[in-house]
Structure formats: structure tokens, C-alpha cells
């Protein structure tokens, strides 16, 4: 297959065939992680700039690891103490990156649309969206597809229950889009106050009762609950939330016997997930971390290749 994407801003334009091809390439990248020397020279001489205008640990570390395993030169441009906090405009930032000769820019920003803006302004460099506001987090969706597919064997026809704060979650938005594209039926659950207004336009169903959503599901996906949501009056109390929508053994037992439990991390144990489920046999949460490095390697390799 000829790879036609230079950037990853959203998975909207990716076909199912491309996703299949991509996930297979990621499988081979994951194999590199088992080697004694976890490094190949594929991206030698390429410069990747990680621009995180918003806090992130796992996504940033995961991208950095993927870049280093492919032998790219890595530059970390962090928001605090950078020119952004000194009032530099985004356009000046773009020109600076261009002048530095960046081959790729990984960007996370609190504002929706920043990665898209960068990709339109940067003529040569690839741009990868590492999360923009509440809009999207496409590499998270890719890693979730990768680890779910690995454990389940295939995704077509599978059922997924996504439970938690869908409204504020960019992960939810990207994952719903990606899993549906792979033929997965998605049912949402959680407090109605944390649901987007038009679940139907996302192509998903909403049920308030988490047990009903989980019944017979192959994938149970739990989203982070931020404790501030309680102060905002969006959830009754942490305890009640945990009882009704948290990943407990009783909720997980309603799912298919081979179901996988997923969480994008970082986890709030005792809030959206209990320790016995997080550390239990159905959890693929650590597999998600490994998949994260593998899919980011595949992304960098496929998009950064070729003569420019």
C-alpha cells in the first residue's frame, strides 16, 4: 500500500483499509521493543520537535521513546518557560520551527484546531496531533485499536461500552470515530450531565445504566473522571459515581467472558476504576502503553519517509 498521509490531525480521512495496514505495521514496530537493542536507524537525520503547550506525561514520553527508537533527533519544546509564555504568536512559532529545519512537529495544545493550523502553515514538516482541546487525540485512538485488536483477534462486529465523562473527553471523540470505522458498535454510559447533547450524531447509543451498556460487550472502555467535576455539580459524589459507573468486578462480570478492560490513563483508582479491575486479568491497560509506543513509531515511520 502506498501511504498517502503526511500528517495526522484527525482520523476522519483514514479508510478502514488504511487502518488495517497501519495496525499491522505497528505490530512489527512492537516487536522492536522485545529486542536487546531497541533502536533502528530508520529515521536517522530527521528532526522531530515535541511541542507540548499543555501538560502531558505519557503521551510525550511515548512519542519521545518512539522517536528515539527510530533514531530521530528529538527536541522538546515545552510550554512553561518557552516563548509561548512570553507572548509569541503561534504564527511566529511556526516560522521558528520551519527555520530550525524540523521534519516533524508533535503538538498538544489546549485550543481546538492548533495542530490543523500548524499543518496548514508548515510546508515541509509533518504535524502530529497529540491532543487539541476537547477535539481529538488520534494517536490515543490508534493505540486503543491496536491493543484491543491484539487481545480480541479482530474488531469487526465487536461491541464496545464506553463509560464516563464523554463530554469533556477528546479521547472519546477520537475513539468513537476510529472504533466505528473498524466495525465496532459503541454504546455510551455515564451521568447524563457528562454526555454530549447529540450522541446520535456520533453514531452511538446512550444508556444511563452502565450494566446495560456493559452486557455482552467485548470492550469496556472507562474514561477519566476529574474530581473537579464534582465541584461543578456534574456528578453526584465520587462514591456514588464509582458505585454506578465505575469499573467494579460486578460491572465487568456483565461483559463477554473474553472482554478487555481499557483506560487511557492516568487512572483514578477508586473513582472510575477499582484496583481489582485495573490489575485484573481482563485489563489491557499496560498493553495500551506498549501499543502507544508501537503506533507512534509506525506513524513517524510512515509519514516521515520518502523524498521531500
Amino acid at each position: 500500500m502506498e501511504w498517502r498521509h503526511k500528517d495526522l490531525i484527525t482520523l476522519e480521512g483514514w479508510t478502514r483499509e488504511e487502518l488495517h495496514f497501519f495496525l499491522e505495521q505497528a505490530d512489527y514496530m512492537e516487536e522492536l521493543m522485545n529486542r536487546p537493542i531497541k533502536k533502528v536507524p530508520a529515521l536517522r537525520g530527521k528532526m522531530v520537535v515535541n511541542c507540548f503547550f499543555e501538560n502531558s506525561t505519557r503521551t510525550r514520553v511515548s512519542f519521545e521513546l518512539a522517536e528515539k527508537m527510530l533514531s530521530a533527533d528529538v527536541v522538546n519544546w515545552s510550554a512553561s518557560g518557552s516563548s509561548a509564555s512570553k507572548g509569541e504568536t503561534l504564527r511566529d512559532t511556526v516560522w521558528t520551527l520551519e527555520a530550525m529545519g524540523a521534519d516533524a512537529v508533535v503538538v498538544r495544545h489546549g485550543a481546538v484546531g492548533v495542530p490543523d493550523y500548524l499543518s496548514k502553515k508548515l510546508k515541509r514538516a509533518s504535524v502530529f496531533n497529540a491532543g487539541d482541546g476537547t477535539n481529538g487525540h488520534p494517536t490515543q485512538a490508534l493505540l486503543d485499536l491496536h491493543s484491543a485488536r491484539k487481545r480480541l483477534g479482530g474488531l469487526d462486529g465487536a461491541k464496545m461500552a464506553m463509560i464516563g465523562d464523554v463530554l469533556h473527553s477528546r479521547v472519546a471523540r477520537s475513539d468513537i470515530q476510529a472504533f466505528r470505522k473498524m466495525g465496532v458498535t459503541v454504546t455510551l454510559s455515564g451521568p447524563a450531565t457528562l454526555m454530549p447533547e447529540d450522541t446520535a450524531s456520533l453514531g452511538v447509543e446512550y444508556v444511563s445504566d452502565a450494566h446495560e451498556a456493559a452486557r455482552g460487550a467485548d470492550i469496556l472502555y472507562f474514561l477519566r473522571i476529574q474530581r473537579e467535576r464534582q465541584d461543578d455539580g456534574l456528578i453526584p459524589s465520587i462514591d456514588e459515581y464509582h458505585r454506578r459507573w465505575g469499573a467494579t468486578d460486578s460491572l465487568v462480570s456483565a461483559a463477554s467472558p473474553n472482554a478487555v478492560v481499557m483506560h487511557p490513563g492516568p487512572m483514578n483508582r477508586g473513582v472510575e476504576i477499582s484496583s481489582s479491575v485495573a490489575d485484573g486479568p481482563k485489563s489491557v491497560i499496560l498493553g495500551q502503553v506498549r501499543s502507544g509506543v508501537a503506533v507512534r513509531m509506525a506513524l513517524l515511520y510512515l509519514c516521515l519517509g520518502g523524498a521531500r
Binding site: 501511504w3 505490530d27 512489527y28 516487536e31 536487546p36 530508520a42 527510530l70 515511520y301 519517509g305 523524498a307
Partner: protein, 196 residues
């Protein structure tokens, strides 16, 4: 690339038939046994993609003729290529899997065609990252000349003189539906060959 041969290359002549391929692989298997005084500590490592299938054939011959199950693995050298930044499209990655520890073993690399020597260079770099074999030997079905690096094979099925504008295609049943080696001629497309 081979996958595009339908568009860019037209078949010119058959240089090995199915019978020729079988006979040559048998001869190579005998030479491997002779050179290594047996098959102890030997590992066959096929280079993706057709080398993998040729290594499997050698393994089968050893099983029948020598009653020895020689461990066989597959090696993908894509991420070690030196021409990645010059190709229009990123080459597809295939699987690498070793049958076990290669430290201290005798590794026989198996590939279909030896041409510029760049694939072998990449394979040696990949092997270095995977362990430290006692010896690495190279077996190829066809040596077509035009080396760009100081590389030589230990076992050669057939030496085929070619011009640079030609391409040697090794076809295996598992991938191509037939066992045959053909010389193809360019009918269009880019100026220079892209075979690594």
C-alpha cells in the same frame, strides 16, 4: 519494486525452472553441511520476503536428508535500509522473528538475489543489533553482479550476468503461485533500479 513489476517490467527470459531451483537448493544444502561439518548450532535466517521461503525450503531438505530440524527465522531489513530518504514511498515493514538466541550460533542468511550488496549490509547491521553470532554466512539463489559494496556470498545457486536495466525476479509458489526465476526488462517508469 517487485510488486510493481506488472507495470514497469516485461518478462525477457527464464533463467531457472522449478526443477532448476529445487536442484540448486539441494546443492546449497549439501554445501552448507560440508562447510559447517554438520548442522550443529546452525540457524537459517531468511531475508523478507522471498528469502524467508527459500530458507523454509532448505529447512525442509535438511529435515528429510539429514534428519535434523534446523531452526529458521525471518529477518526484515527495511528499517536498516540506506535509501529510505531517497524513495518516493516508504517501504513496507515486514516481520522479524528469531527462532531463539543467535549468540554464538552459525547464522546462514538466505536471500533470493544478490545485487548491489546493500540488502546484505543492512541485514548485517540488523543481526548485530539482535545478538552476536559466531559466524554469519550468506546463501543466495541468484548472484546477478553489479556490487556497490564489498559483499560476497558463501553459497550461490546460479550466477546470472545481467545489465543494470534488467531485473531478476525470483518467484516462489507461496507468494507468486509458481517457482521460477526470470529476467525482466524495463518497459517504463523510473531511470534507475530501486532494488536494495
Amino acid at each position: 519494486m517487485k510488486e510493481q513489476s506488472g507495470k514497469l517490467w516485461s518478462e525477457k527470459a527464464t533463467v531457472m525452472t522449478e526443477e532448476d531451483m529445487e536442484r540448486v537448493l539441494r546443492r546449497i544444502s549439501v554445501e552448507i553441511v560440508e562447510r559447517n561439518k554438520g548442522l550443529d548450532d546452525l540457524i537459517l535466517l531468511g531475508i523478507q520476503r522471498r528469502g524467508v521461503h527459500l530458507a523454509a525450503r532448505l529447512r525442509e531438505i535438511f529435515k528429510v536428508e539429514e534428519k535434523v530440524k534446523v531452526p529458521a527465522g525471518e529477518l526484515d531489513i527495511t528499517l536498516y535500509r540506506d535509501d529510505i530518504s531517497t524513495l518516493a514511498d516508504q517501504p513496507v515493514v515486514h516481520s522479524t522473528s528469531l527462532p531463539g538466541d543467535i549468540n554464538g550460533k552459525r547464522v546462514v542468511l538466505v536471500d533470493d538475489v544478490l545485487f548491489t550488496g546493500r540488502t546484505v549490509r543492512a541485514a548485517l547491521d540488523a543481526i548485530t543489533d539482535l545478538g552476536r553470532p559466531a559466524r554469519v554466512q550468506l546463501a543466495v539463489l541468484v548472484d546477478r553482479g553489479h556490487r556497490e559494496l564489498p559483499v560476497a556470498a558463501d553459497y550461490v545457486g546460479k550466477t546470472v550476468p545481467t545489465s543494470r536495466s534488467e531485473n531478476v525476479e525470483v518467484r516462489v509458489k507461496e507468494l507468486d503461485g509458481e517457482d521460477r526465476v526470470v529476467i525482466c526488462e524495463r518497459t517504463g517508469g523510473a531511470e534507475h533500479g530501486v532494488e536494495a
